[in-house]
Subunit: 116 residues, 2 copies
DNA sequence: CCATTATTTCGATCAAATTGGAAATATGGA
DNA sequence: TCCATATTTCCAATTTGATCGAAATAATGG
């Protein structure tokens, strides 16, 4: 992820309502949620919600798809991974995150070096 | 890291000049740089620089210490780690980062342009 | 003290983001 | 077609953010 995209993603998440929306979408999983369901869950008026969803979409953090009368929004996990990668590089200068790698969790090393 | 702190950190980094300042400080390492050196490196007028440094400090991403006539600013790596951890949890719902764990990975994504 | 350098505060101005009501635009069903 | 529901666009008010000159504050050495 390059700087411009990272700036847009950071800006998109740096707002309470949008961060709430995104968290909700992450929680909802790949299927996402209909716009109305998000607005109801977070108690955000439709026009305001639409505005924020557009910002998130423009930043590449969410995707939308029409399904019947509904528009479903879902988190773009790849984009989020890209952002985390960008920050990790900016935090660590391209190397491992300092002291604790807690952020990367108990994890994943799917059996040694099987990258990808 | 709690939501409020994460929002402040995201907001602090979601600005071109501030992101540039922070990257420079990360690159400078724990010792940091004098305010003047940062301003000169990034060509930012003193008042503007002071404003942005204050924002970064308020967000907890940088620390400052007086040294002689200079005020040195340095990146707070723990805070940055905290932010990455927060995003990772919000990206993965507290579990593994989806498909590829590239960000945490075996690393060394020495990409051209990472430097400087 | 005084001069010099480093940084911050003040203040004014301009630009951009956020908000939500009212109205417009889909979409699918009766 | 007409209706009901879902979502977006339009618009205008309000708030918040960014910029930087000028002046103020801090630190040091002469």
């Amino acid at each position: 992820m390059e700087t411009t995209a990272a700036l847009k993603a950071l800006g998109a998440l740096a707002q309470e309502t949008r961060l709430g929306i995104f968290r909700r979408l992450v929680q909802a999983g790949p299927g996402g949620l209909a716009a109305g369901a998000i607005g109801e869950a977070l108690d955000v008026p439709a026009p305001t919600l639409s505005f924020h969803l557009a910002q998130l979409a423009n930043a590449g953090l969410v995707r939308s798809r029409q399904e019947g009368r509904f528009v479903f929004y879902s988190a773009d996990f790849d984009a989020m991974n890209g952002l985390v990668g960008f920050l990790t590089e900016n935090c660590c200068g391209g190397n491992l995150c300092a002291p604790q790698a807690a952020a990367c969790g108990p994890t994943i090393t799917t059996r040694k070096g099987t990258k990808r």
